[in-house]
């Protein structure tokens, strides 16, 4: 019941913000101090983690080759899956990061009587993952309208596309639906898929529940509890936060503080969790290196020149008689070696 803990934790966070923000004078804490702290933790933590990774060298060239390498002229190289040039590596990384290409390959295996093992393409995880990540991205971009004034054209354009179905008023954003849908599917997969269920930790359920709660409070605010909040005051607060002159206006409802507190929690939690895969995916040596280690020497900064092979001289000393008997050429003839000894 590891996921139960995540629900409890998120409920606790909701209660803290819901009640806390209603205590007179605490709005500044929840509206200004906590978000600033969270941002600082996020940026500082993210940079720290990336620097920590970067501090460790990549001693060996270890790309995972997923296609034919560059070889003879008449052997066709798979430039995407076995890149040798930087541009090819960049293309491989682009597809990995933006289209989750490795997940696209996913298969599921089944054992049948015989025994017989079958493999079938399985793209669910790829689909759920894409759905969630791109919805999240669109939502983050949409929220930029709170921090920019006037609203740039491109932002309105994205909103326009996101609400193109023109359902309800205010119009429904597709990304709101797909985010929650993606999260539910990913969460459901963790419960239903027996492999994943067995390996899942609190650390895996918590972010899903947290982001779901963030999405849910956001949707409540936009579509259902609009009268409880004052969007003008929220925009003022947001603009104040980015210009370092935050002002708390009256009449920002508890639901907003809950939403903001959950987002702050996510930001603060991010660098210390598996969510850092966002940074790590760029730095994974098996994907971001060119497969050219025979053509171009890769340098290991801690290579120890003192580690030398058992010397030929030592080898010949041990086996000289046998070698001479067998007619294998030697550096020192038997007599010379004896004289030395």
């Amino acid at each position: 019941m590891k996921y139960a803990f995540s629900f409890l934790a998120v409920i606790a966070l909701v209660l803290i913000a819901g009640f806390g923000s209603q205590i007179p004078g605490m709005q500044y804490l929840f509206g200004v101090v906590v978000p600033y702290l969270a941002i600082m933790l996020f940026v500082g933590g993210f940079v720290y983690r990336v620097m920590q990774w970067a501090k460790s060298p990549v001693p060996f060239s270890i790309p995972t080759t997923c296609g034919q390498g560059a070889s003879l002229d008449f052997i066709k190289q798979d430039k995407l899956d076995c890149p040798t040039k930087t541009s090819e590596v960049a293309a491989r990384m682009f597809l990995e990061i933006f289209l989750f290409r490795s997940l696209f390959r996913n298969t599921t295996s089944e054992l049948h009587n015989g025994p017989k093992i079958t493999y079938e393409s399985s793209k669910w995880l790829w689909l759920f993952g894409l759905l969630f990540h791109y919805s999240f991205l669109v939502i983050v971009i949409r929220h930029m309208r709170l921090f920019i004034d006037p609203i740039p054209f491109w932002l309105s354009a994205i909103e326009g596309v996101d609400s193109m179905l023109q359902i309800g008023a205010p119009t429904l954003y597709l990304s709101s639906v797909t985010l929650l849908g993606g999260l539910l599917l990913l969460f459901g997969r963790r419960l239903v898929n027996r492999h994943v269920r067995y390996i899942s930790l609190n650390n895996d359920y918590f972010p899903l529940v947290l982001i779901f709660a963030i999405g849910l409070t956001g949707i409540l605010m936009r579509y259902f509890l609009r009268t409880d909040i004052d969007i003008i005051n929220i925009k003022n607060l947001a603009m104040g936060l980015v210009t370092f002159s935050p002002v708390i206006g009256a009449k920002i409802g508890a639901i907003f503080y809950i939403h903001l507190f959950l987002v702050s929690t996510l930001l603060a939690y991010f660098p210390f969790s598996k969510l850092m895969h966002m940074g790590g995916v760029f730095m994974s040596p098996t994907r971001n290196m060119a497969n050219n280690s025979r053509a171009k020497r890769h340098i290991n900064p801690w290579n120890d020149p003192e580690i030398k092979p058992h010397s030929y001289a030592g080898y010949e000393d041990e086996f000289r008689e046998f070698m001479v008997d067998a007619g294998i050429p030697v550096e020192k003839e038997l007599s010379a070696a004896k004289d030395e000894a």
């Binding site: 983690r49 990774w53 460790s56 060298p57 001693p59 060239s61 270890i62 995972t64 080759t65 997923c66 296609g67 034919q68 390498g69 560059a70 070889s71 003879l72 008449f74 052997i75 066709k76 490795s102 997940l103 996913n106 295996s109 054992l111 049948h112 009587n113 025994p115 017989k116 093992i117 493999y119 995880l125 492999h195 067995y198 390996i199 609190n202 650390n203 210390f272 969790s273 598996k274 895969h277 790590g280 994974s284 098996t286 497969n291 025979r294 053509a295 890769h298 290579n303 120890d304 003192e306 580690i307 030398k308 092979p309 080898y315 086996f319 046998f322 067998a326 007619g327 294998i328 050429p329």
Partner: protein, 543 residues
């Protein structure tokens, strides 16, 4: 250990309660202990082998002792925990891959059923993600803020003797084949994790004999088999005699000859036992056919490198002989025989560890004039690249009908496929030396190829049941083409494969031969001045 009968194991794999067959364990994995019993572990390294390695300059193999995995007390050093944690810290500082792989996994489970050990055993800890979690849980506990504060709540776990035993069990149920890494959205490579686990275990004297004995042999005698120079020469001479008997062609070969153009290095298993012997005969015939000016070496008489399966220091030390010998003999470049893990080392590690090889020349085939630019720095060419180039340039007289007895399929070695990208060269050769060959199903070849199940020094007999289980996905794919296309030969470019796939075929698919691609080349070559007998089974024909 007796291996279960085929019917028993066939049933057990499919119907036995395991995570692979649908049974979900009731206990959390952290609460399941590793239990050692005869047949599920490889024998610990002999005292004298560990002592010998530890005495070698630059190597560290402490705590040589008699110990038994089945005993409660593994006779670890008193401060074993400090050694392990410090060792882990050192490695986090030395390998970015380790840090990234510890931090980035989201446990999406894409790797879960990609592992041949998991498919064959159904043991949850053989899911690559969980194998890595064995280490990751300790890493979280001692090296991350979340784990330090929240402990088990954040997936942390204290380092205990039980955890160490678990590491031993599951780092020796991984062949570092990298199949999981192909499917991971972050490219997390369990091979890296297993390598680190094995390195850490060696720090406290936990290692297996099947790896450390060949490694110490290789250090001393130049090859894993422990063949001394005269014996190594005898073995090759014997193969040359066999060729003369079969084809009437006298082979001109030499050992440790200075001034040769090329140094040829192949796994010593090729000159030691069937079916590798026939592959070695293929090399001898090929080089004779084109009149290559080359030499064997008794000092660098091992292509393979069991150091890869222990720690990077030993890997470097063993590998160093290749360049040292090339330099001593004054050759221009090196050709390497068919071998999987050998080529992992040569392709991804050698130049970094023991280069630059500035005393060699960029490999240029004196027969075809082709320059091997892909090996411009290492100066070492794969025999399949070399052979494919010869064929392309029409330098080989080949008669496919001499392989009429062969209906082949081709097994990609994990290492050449996923750590090198050598896939189409052997296929190009097959196209030209056999009439009949077919591919296995697409999810089991090329970058998705399945390991033989016994790589990384796990090809020892005491764990035969495990090997037959982990080899099942490969064997099953072979069975598919046997049933469908009457395949009778499993060809490959790996010496460990030649040995282990033979056991695997004998068990799961009796009657299917295993051979090196170079054996098929040798079969098909039409030699000058030959006086060939009726060779119904090519080089294998008994006359």
């Amino acid at each position: 250990m007796a291996v279960p009968k085929l019917e028993q194991l066939s049933k057990s794999v499919v119907q036995g309660p395991s995570l692979a067959t649908g049974a979900i364990p009731t206990k959390d994995w952290m609460d399941v202990e590793a239990v050692f019993k005869p047949g599920n572990y490889a024998y610990p390294a002999k005292v004298e082998k560990v002592e010998y390695l530890n005495s070698q300059k630059g190597l560290h193999f402490p705590n040589a002792r008699e110990w038994n995995p089945e005993d409660d007390d593994w006779k670890l050093p008193e401060d074993w925990k400090d050694i392990i944690l410090k060792g882990l810290k050192d490695r986090l500082d030395k390998f970015r891959s380790l840090k990234i792989f510890m931090d980035c996994c989201v446990r999406c489970g894409a790797c879960a059923d990609k592992c041949h050990f998991f498919l064959g055993t159904g043991d949850p800890k053989n899911m690559p993600v969980l194998r890595a979690e064995l280490l990751r849980s300790v890493y979280r506990n001692d090296f991350t803020i979340g784990g330090k504060i929240l402990g088990k709540m954040a997936g942390g776990r204290e380092m205990t003797v039980g955890v160490l035993k678990e590491w031993f069990m599951y780092s020796y149920q991984c062949t570092e084949c990298r199949r999981c890494s192909v499917f991971c959205p972050y490219g997390i490579d369990t091979a890296e994790v297993t390598m680190m686990l094995r390195e850490l275990l060696h720090l406290v004297g936990v290692g297996i004999n099947w790896i450390l004995e060949p490694a110490s042999n290789s250090n001393r005698t130049g090859n894993h088999m422990g063949l001394q120079p005269h014996t190594f020469k005898d073995n090759v001479d014997f193969l040359a005699d066999d060729i003369e008997n079969l084809t009437g062609v006298k082979i001109n070969h030499s050992f440790n000859r200075k001034g040769a153009e090329v140094l040829f290095i192949t796994p010593s298993a090729d000159v030691f036992a069937e079916p590798g012997l026939y592959t070695a005969m293929g090399y001898l015939l090929l080089f004779e056919h084109i009149g290559l000016d080359y030499t064997w070496s008794t000092y660098a008489s091992e292509g393979g490198n069991f150091g890869l399966f222990t720690n990077n220091e030993l890997m470097k030390k063993l590998n160093g002989k290749m360049y040292a010998e090339a330099k001593r003999l004054g050759v221009k470049y090196i050709i390497g025989g068919e071998c999987g893990h050998m080529w992992r080392v040569v392709h991804q590690y050698m130049d970094t560890m023991n280069g630059p090889a500035d005393f060699l020349e960029v490999p240029k085939s004196s027969i075809t004039g082709t320059t091997f630019n892909n090996a411009a720095s290492t100066k070492m060419v794969h025999i399949s690249e070399f052979t494919a180039d010869l064929i392309k340039n029409g330098k080989l007289k080949l008669d496919k009908s001499r392989n009429a007895h062969v209906k082949a399929t081709f097994h990609d070695s994990c290492n050449t496929a996923r750590a090198m990208g050598l896939m189409d060269e052997p296929r190009y050769i097959l196209d030209h030396v056999v009439d009949n060959w077919v591919e296995m199903p697409e999810n089991t070849i090329r970058e998705q190829t399945f390991c033989c199940g016994s790589g990384t020094g796990l090809n020892t007999d005491e764990i035969m049941e495990l090997r037959m289980r982990s080899g099942l996905p490969r064997a099953n794919a072979v069975k598919h083409v046997i049933d469908k296309h009457d395949v009778n030969t499993l060809s490959c470019v790996c010496a460990i494969d030649r040995a282990t796939l033979t056991s695997l075929m004998n068990y799961w698919n009796p009657g299917c031969n295993v051979c090196g691609v170079s054996e098929l080349v040798g079969n098909a070559l039409v030699m000058d001045g030959e006086n060939r007998q009726e060779l119904d089974e090519g080089l294998r024909t008994l006359v």
